[in-house]
């Protein structure tokens, strides 16, 4: 496979995954705040700031008032904003275009439909009353794409590259979501009857990762800070957990360089190292200093991505 095309497929995977998490974060936070049990969590400003925080723009001024339509437009349809959902989907399709000869017609057609859906959606309708409709469609269409990726491609290098993109991005987004909701849980502490460790925000966090129901099944208890973080970071069977993503990254990188994983300069070696560290962590030590953990794992994921660039995508 051509290096340039591999690079594009990797980013196709990342952009598909990114658009999904953005859309779901919008949806879940907006709608769960409507009937949140305490006043802070219910306030519009709280939700809008949480959305901007997740998008990588933490508030600089606590007094600043955000306008709902502006925030929604920016995250959904602003072409000048690089991480808007529209731009993510556009980029995913552009990357698919350049690898059109390698992927299946079914997958291409699904991405193309996805793009036409998003690009022809009225931004005005979205900010006024289309939030639920639009974000639900986006998350459903990304699920279709994942199905087409798994169900119609040869499980060879092409598939491995796409899955590397998907899983590295998923781990990154899950961590960003954890970071944002952790921040929200701290902020929401002030209200009556809501302690940090059993904040309403943990349930929202799980829903943002589509993991609420399975978490309840697994622990059979109301989510707390520790159980939520454990589930989303360390549980290898939770498909959205960081651990699970790292396992997938490890399996897929092996497809790309099977003989090279013991060479300490290879990407596979680095992935193995990061993963091994996680296998023997426990949640209390992570929770002790969550900020350090977050910046540490984001650095590692960035390093893996950079190494892949050098090893495979050099053209």
């Amino acid at each position: 496979m051509l290096s340039r095309v591999a690079d594009n497929l990797f980013w196709m995977g990342r952009y598909i995954e990114r658009s999904e998490h953005m859309a779901r974060y919008l949806n879940v936070n907006y709608f769960s705040s409507l009937d949140a049990p305490n006043q802070i969590s219910q306030s519009r400003q709280f939700v809008l700031k949480s959305i901007m925080f997740m998008a990588g723009e933490p508030e600089s001024d606590a007094e600043q008032k955000l306008k709902e339509e502006e925030v929604l437009f920016r995250i959904g349809f602003d072409t000048k904003y690089p991480s808007s959902i529209l731009n993510n989907v556009k980029n995913a399709r552009e990357n698919a275009n350049s690898a059109r000869d390698l992927i299946s017609t079914e997958l291409y057609e699904a991405i193309n439909k996805f793009y036409h859906f998003v690009s022809s959606y009225s931004a005005e309708a979205f900010v006024k009353n289309g939030l639920h409709d639009f974000t639900t469609h986006v998350t459903e269409m990304t699920a279709i794409l994942r199905g087409k990726i798994r169900g119609t491609l040869l499980h060879n290098e092409v598939y491995a590259i796409i899955m590397l993109g998907v899983n590295i991005e998923r781990a990154t987004q899950i961590i960003r979501i954890i970071n944002a909701k952790y921040h929200d849980a701290l902020k929401a502490q002030g209200s009556y009857g809501d302690k940090f460790s059993n904040s309403y925000e943990w349930s929202t966090l799980l829903k943002c990762a589509e993991s609420y129901d399975m978490m309840r099944r697994f622990y059979k208890k109301t989510p707390t800070s520790i159980s939520t973080l454990e589930f989303l970071i360390l549980n290898p069977n939770c498909p959205r957990s960081v651990m699970n993503c790292l396992n997938q990254v490890y399996n897929n990188i092996k497809v790309l360089d099977p003989d090279y994983r013991y060479n300490r300069t290879s990407t596979a070696f680095l992935v193995g190292r990061v993963r091994a560290e996680f296998q023997y962590k426990y949640i209390e030590e992570i929770e002790n200093d969550i900020q350090a953990f977050i910046s540490d794992i984001l650095d590692n994921l960035g390093e893996i991505s950079k190494k892949m660039q050098r090893e495979f995508f050099n053209y």
Partner: protein, 488 residues
């Protein structure tokens, strides 16, 4: 038998001066179309509206689109597709097929001669100006022997049916002719929409193009290569024919590369893969000559590969088509085709040429200037239907402007009598009815070493505007599925 009364043709207006491919002079359906006509007659116009919309959205969702470069923004458009197919019977096809092979072979010998001894010029069959004044003659190709002796591996010959019922060649395209992917898409779309009609005709397949292309390209592999590695090179995804490039790479099962994916080392060409460099032996290139290699042609080209031409010169890589073929498909050479065929093959042309006046000849220039209103005037070196004027569509002012242009640079223009392209019933979306529209046919011929292939079918292009004779897709043309029938 009632025919023209059938509902979907109830408003069909037949101009008796034009050659209609399905109705004869008396308005009777021709035998070959009778079954199809009856089958279509079972549908109502509402069915067509629905089928047509379905076909359109199918093309759009599959991303079978091309870019139109406008003043402000680039638009993504589908290539309009018509649900009523065109039928060519096996006898008629035999003539077409042998005719286009004959032309392609003659052109190949002509190119080889032009880049070697130039016998045809020395013997006075064609004038020296033909190449000395042509922008597409590449002196770099002098003395080079392309692998397998083939220059124009892929030829797209455009032919029309005149109102005398005969086929004429309109032009030869032997640089990077495009359109073949639409032939296959049209067939797929028609099969999806109206699969029932296929049961009643024995039609040749068109989906075997890619495998034949790969087979024939492999016959012209560089010397000493056992298992050649073939690739397709594209200018990139913003090129208007990118869909076709990706389609061909996908169906041949080979890599689709851009110039930046390749490099040349010690006169061998390599592509950069995730597992390191991999040798490339055959390049089906869809970028123009001048962009192939910045070291040899245009320095500012970022589409090509530095050193590619040197590798080609050494015989280490095959380029299809060979650089420099453009000298033989311009409209000035076209007029000498009967002589060229006779000279190299000792045969009379199977397909006729449209008579052409050279504005470079004083006698003919005089005739052209006096008869601008009766002639089609074309620049010799423009592709895509640009710069063409059709005499009877010009105003007085335009005629004078045209005269001025031709006088300023006579070598740049040729003129032909206005040919009456045949017409075919075509579904017109705006009017929800079938109407007569002019059509031509682009055929696709592949030459390999001692082997050739003609796609049994082709791209029937339709001029969608009423009365328009220019059928190029960049000028709003549509297309039809084209059936070549098996011998019955």
């Amino acid at each position: 038998m009632p025919n023209i009364e059938s509902q979907i043709f109830s408003s069909y207006q037949r101009n008796p001066l034009l050659h209609d491919e399905i109705f004869d002079q008396e308005g009777q359906v021709k035998a070959i179309y009778q079954k199809l006509f009856n089958l279509y007659g079972e549908h109502s116009i509402e069915d067509y509206i629905q089928l047509n919309n379905k076909a359109k959205s199918s093309f759009f969702n599959q991303g079978i689109t091309f870019q139109v470069y406008g003043k402000k923004e680039t638009q993504e458009k589908i290539f309009p597709f018509d649900l009523f197919p065109r039928i060519i019977d096996s006898q008629e096809w035999e003539t077409i097929e042998s005719g286009v092979i004959q032309r392609s072979r003659a052109l190949n010998l002509f190119l080889s001669d032009l880049y070697h001894e130039k016998k045809i010029i020395k013997q006075g069959v064609v004038p020296l100006e033909l190449i000395s004044s042509s922008a597409n003659y590449l002196h770099q190709m002098l003395g080079i022997d392309p692998p397998g002796g083939i220059y124009n591996h892929i030829s797209g010959t455009d032919i029309i049916k005149h109102n005398d019922g005969n086929w004429y060649v309109l032009e030869d395209n032997i640089r990077c002719p495009s359109g073949v992917s639409y032939v296959i898409c049209n067939r797929t779309a028609l099969k999806r929409a109206l699969f029932g009609v296929f049961n009643h005709y024995q039609t040749h397949t068109v989906t075997d193009y890619a495998e034949n292309l790969l087979d024939l390209l492999e016959t012209v592999k560089p010397h000493g290569v056992d298992q050649p590695n073939c690739i397709v090179i594209t200018p990139g995804m913003y090129n208007s024919a990118f869909y076709e490039h990706s389609y061909l790479a996908k169906t041949m099962g080979v890599e689709l590369v851009e110039g930046r994916d390749l490099f040349v080392e010690n006169d061998f060409v390599y592509m950069k893969t995730i597992k390191g460099p991999q040798r490339v032996d055959i390049i089906y290139r869809r970028i123009d000559d001048l962009f192939l290699d910045p070291l040899e042609f245009r320095e500012d080209s970022t589409l090509g590969v530095p050193g590619l031409f040197a590798a080609y010169k050494k015989g280490n890589v095959t380029l299809a088509n060979a650089p420099g073929t453009g000298v033989a498909d311009d409209k000035a050479v076209y007029t000498y085709m009967p002589e060229i065929i006779k000279y190299y093959l000792g045969e009379d042309p199977i397909l006729s040429n449209v008579y052409t006046y050279h504005c470079s000849r004083p006698q003919e220039l005089k005739y052209v200037l006096e008869n601008v209103d009766k002639l089609v005037i074309k620049p010799v070196d423009e592709a895509g239907g640009y710069g063409i004027s059709i005499g009877n569509k010009l105003t007085k002012k335009e005629i004078n402007e045209r005269k001025k242009q031709v006088k300023e640079d006579p070598r740049k223009y040729v003129a032909q009598p206005i040919m009456s392209l045949s017409v075919h019933p075509t579904y017109i979306d705006e009017n929800h009815s079938f109407e007569q529209r002019h059509v031509d046919l682009r055929t696709f011929t592949i030459l390999g070493k001692d082997k050739e292939f003609v796609l049994k079918g082709g791209l029937t292009r339709v001029a969608l505007q009423k009365g328009n004779l220019i059928v190029n897709s960049s000028q709003g043309g549509g297309s039809k599925d084209t059936w070549v029938l098996k011998n019955q």
